[in-house]
């Protein structure tokens, strides 16, 4: 495969969002990014569920979903069962880009990537995600861990590249408070200190990045900046328009912090681009966006303590928007165009193709050929995962070091044998919590990957440990995805009866009722939510679906449009609107809405099916075939795309052979689905838990 570029610079800006960036670019406050966008391609990138950064950045680096790469949370149990530690590179089960490049004779630099600690001995250099942090939670000095840097000769230099937040002066922090300076005399108000810490850690990351970029010995440099996400979690409530609970003084003091960090990132970007040089290709992306408008989640009470601020039921992840940013420019990339339908999983295969390396079939993403200037012939291989002496993966670690979850299992066996006591100590409860969250995240990863059976097995095991309504709801969602709505019904009915104030449960119960053709009951479940949750897009979209099922097309259109008005990123609303429009004979508008949905989230098979139907209705058979084929590829067990393909090939293309092939496929898949449903209905036993491997 020909190499399309001398080198690739991959920059991660966690949580960066076009909704903040576009106004800044228009104001001339982010000139570097503006030039990059004009010079290359740009668009949204769809995140993955669960929207947790360690999982997402490792999906970006490996091209694989979380169940394959194994990084499933922020922390993992310590192998000895005492407490938790940040998730480590030894836990990652799949090779990252830098491992693949290392074994392929190429050199990489890695700076601050999530779960990159301890540093892997790749061909190149690594500053791990532990490198930027000099101060702990109680402002105690943390010495730089020698394992945070590879090769070891860089350790002394690394210490000099770290920026100590305590050395930053008020003058250096003033750009973050242009309207009014904060009160630095208060010991209780740590907000200015948070800005200093974020600034220092960002600068440390940038120091390491520019040091590596300035050396002319790299083929790939991956730099991750966490700062925008942290700044947003701490200060987005003050961002104009400040949220209702924010005082006028706080809005004045802290209202520009988020934008100031964006401007700082633009300046850093400029320096990195200069160092990378004109023969490089740059990819800049975020893993998700961040709500900055009316969709910011409500705050329970004004407090500096996140637990108090958000209350026990609020989750910081609810601030994450599903669309992140994606920009690519330089060698091999088109100029001044929009990029559509990008997923986080597409980055690794695309970078391999840019560097002239084969793309493995076991990556879950695809090469973004639509952004490349010239067509390429992609060379494929099965996988890079076989051990290679030069891949730089950690070898020779103890079994418990490489899999702390297995180590925890061993500990639990010792407890079951009666030799250790797991209940006595808080550190062990922390480890148990980490295990619980890991299982919960893994179930979400499987569900998002259209693998509801695997998710179901994990959720059943979790339910056996704790009878929580949230787990029952998730089990019900799995049943719905498997076409087994009747099994979801009793679970949801119980949750709704016990917890009538949980609108989410009623929403999903409504869907289950619709799936069972109990439309009147579904309507009476969902219709009140139209008013109770008038400003929540997901409820409006759900109502739209009920109207669709009842054939009330105009009402459905109104509900979907209301959802879109509230949240233009709602994939479900755009797709649902597309169906409502198609049924009213408005095919062009329908196609537009389905394409909008596909642009927002490419990896959603039902959108491509719906688009295919709209295209077939408007006699665009070739495009319809492409849409259905894509859906079939994404959901290989789904019969519906094959039914449509059979019909199109038979009626319109007169290709009897292809029509027969798809008809047979449809019949086979439909039969298998029916058998599974009948087997499950006859024996609704709890499925066994899959292995942790």
């Amino acid at each position: 495969m020909p190499r399309l570029t001398k080198r690739v610079l991959l920059i991660g800006w966690d949580a960066a969002d076009w909704n903040i960036i576009r106004p800044l670019m228009e104001e001339g406050k982010m000139p570097v990014l503006k030039r990059l966008v004009e010079f290359g391609v740009s668009g949204n990138v769809a995140t993955l569920a669960p929207v947790l950064s360690p999982i997402l950045w490792n999906s970006i680096a490996t091209g694989k979903r979380g169940y394959k790469h194994g990084i499933l949370g922020f922390v993992e149990p310590n192998p000895d069962g005492k407490g938790v530690r940040p998730v480590r590179s030894t836990t990652r089960k799949a090779k990252a880009l830098w491992n693949i490049l290392s074994q392929s004779g190429l050199r990489s630099g890695v700076v601050n990537w999530y779960a990159s600690h301890p540093a892997e001995p790749i061909a190149g250099s690594v500053f791990t995600n532990l490198f930027p942090t000099m101060l702990g939670a109680k402002a105690e000095r943390i010495p730089l861990d020698p394992q945070a840097v590879h090769p070891p000769e860089l350790l002394d230099l690394a210490r000099r590249l770290q920026v100590d937040p305590r050395t930053l002066t008020p003058l250096q922090l003033m750009p973050f408070f242009p309207n009014k300076p904060p009160d630095l005399s208060s010991e209780k108000d740590l907000r200015a200190a948070i800005v200093a810490k974020l600034m220092a850690e960002c600068a440390s990351t940038h120091n390491a990045a520019t040091f590596l970029a300035s050396r002319d010995d790299w083929d790939f440099l991956a730099v991750y900046y966490e700062t925008i996400d942290l700044a947003c979690h701490n200060f987005m409530e003050y961002h104009p328009p400040a949220m209702a609970h924010v005082s006028a003084n706080d809005a004045e003091v802290f209202g520009e912090v988020v934008r100031a960090f964006y401007e700082f990132h633009d300046m850093m970007l400029g320096r990195l681009l200069d160092l990378a040089g004109p023969e490089s290709t740059v990819i800049l992306l975020s893993d998700h966006g961040f709500y900055n408008d009316h969709l910011r989640p409500p705050v329970a009470q004004h407090s500096l303590d996140p637990k108090e601020k958000f209350g026990p039921t609020m989750n910081p992840v609810s601030w994450h928007r599903r669309q992140g940013i994606f920009v690519a420019a330089g060698n091999g990339i088109k100029r001044d165009e929009l990029a559509h339908g990008t997923s986080l999983l597409d980055i690794a295969p695309t970078i391999l193709a840019l560097l002239g390396l084969p793309v493995p079939d076991d990556m879950d993403g695809r090469v973004l050929t639509t952004i490349l200037k010239d067509p390429i012939e992609i060379e494929r291989i099965d996988s890079y995962e076989a051990p290679h002496p030069d891949d730089g993966m950690h070898r020779g670690v103890t079994a418990d070091e490489s899999d702390p979850y297995a180590a925890r299992q061993a500990l639990e066996q010792l407890a079951a044998l009666g030799y250790v006591d797991l209940d006595a100590n808080d550190p062990e409860k922390e480890a148990a919590t980490a295990l619980w969250e890991r299982d919960s995240n893994l179930a979400q990863v499987y569900f998002a990957a259209n693998m509801p059976e695997e998710a179901l097995a994990i959720l059943h095991a979790m339910l056996a440990q704790r009878e929580e309504p949230g787990i029952k709801i998730r089990i019900a969602l799995c049943f719905l995805a498997l076409g087994r709505a009747a099994e979801a019904d009793p679970l949801l009915r119980e949750v709704v009866e016990k917890f009538p104030s949980l609108p989410g449960a009623r929403l999903i119960f409504g869907r289950a009722l619709m799936a069972q053709q109990k439309l009147d009951e579904a309507f009476s479940m969902l219709e009140p939510l139209q008013h109770e949750e008038a400003n929540v897009p997901v409820f409006q979209a759900a109502l739209g679906l009920v109207y669709l099922r009842r054939g009330l097309l105009e009402e459905a259109e109104t509900a979907f449009r209301r959802a879109i008005e509230l949240d233009d990123d709602s994939v479900e609303a755009h797709d649902g609107l597309g169906i409502a429009l198609r049924r009213q004979g408005r095919f062009e508008d329908s196609i537009y809405e389905h394409m909008r949905a596909a642009t927002l989230q490419h990896l959603r098979p039902q959108t491509h099916v719906n688009l295919g139907i709209a295209l077939a209705n408007s006699r665009r058979d070739d495009w319809a075939i492409r849409a259905f084929s894509l859906a079939a590829e994404m959901a290989p067990n789904e019969p519906l795309p094959h039914r449509w393909l059979a019909m199109i090939y038979r009626r319109n293309k007169k290709d009897v052979e292809k029509a027969r092939e798809h008809r047979q496929k449809f019949v086979e898949l439909a039969r298998r689905r029916k058998e599974k449903k009948e087997a499950a209905a006859a024996n609704p036993a709890t499925p066994p838990v899959p292995g942790n491997g």
């Binding site: 103890t398 418990d400 899999d403 297995a406 061993a410 250790v420």
Partner: protein, 196 residues
């Protein structure tokens, strides 16, 4: 040497089901009283008893009972060895039982099954590697113990011919034990999950 004169604590350690209870029986027969509270009584997994002391499980938080262990033998699982004080104030003589990992895993599996409990949800091969890693860590810690001595005893060898090991134990523990009684305490018929 009387219990009062024996100014060290005899620790019997190893993986669960590596022969630690057997060793405790031997030492009791030979003249070192066990520190035990009899909370876990004999059963099919250990027909002659467990010789355990419940407070051992709280070793991380509470070491006050160690004073009571002076001159006696106490069973402490390998994982908890690093919780022993290593300031040199107390002397420990550690008997570390060794048994083929396959036999250990099989024995643990059977014991759990008898108790109606589930085994760890990971492959036994992986579990075995984890245990061996834990043992290595424990041995490294023992090597650093300022006032400690370690004697490894192989389970299969003990059951095949206890007499030489009984003599070795006697030497290790001060020389005033009854090696004949210790050897006689070993009942080869209790050697289950034997693997060739």
């Amino acid at each position: 040497m009387s219990e009062a004169a024996r100014n060290f604590i005899t620790v019997v350690s190893g993986l669960p089901r590596s022969g630690t209870s057997l060793m405790m029986q031997m030492l009791a027969a030979g003249g070192i009283p066990p520190l035990t509270d009899q909370q876990r009584t004999a059963d099919e997994s250990n027909p002659r008893g467990y010789f355990e002391f419940e407070a051992v499980k709280q070793l991380r938080k509470d070491r006050s009972w160690l004073a009571e262990a002076q001159g006696k033998a106490v069973k402490i699982i390998h994982l908890l060895l690093p919780e022993l004080p290593n300031d040199g104030a107390m002397e420990f003589r550690v008997i570390l039982m060794e048994r083929a990992i396959g036999e250990v895993l099989a024995s643990q599996r059977r014991m759990l099954a008898r108790g109606g409990k589930a085994s760890a949800a990971i492959p036994e091969e992986q579990l075995g590697k984890i245990y061996l890693g834990q043992l290595q860590q424990a041995e490294r810690w023992l090597a650093s113990l300022p006032n400690g001595r370690v004697l490894k005893v192989e389970h299969r060898a003990l059951l095949a011919d206890p007499t030489p090991l009984a003599l070795q134990l006697n030497d290790f523990l001060g020389g005033d034990l009854d090696p004949g009684a210790m050897a006689a305490a070993v009942d080869p018929s209790l050697y289950r999950e034997r693997q060739s």
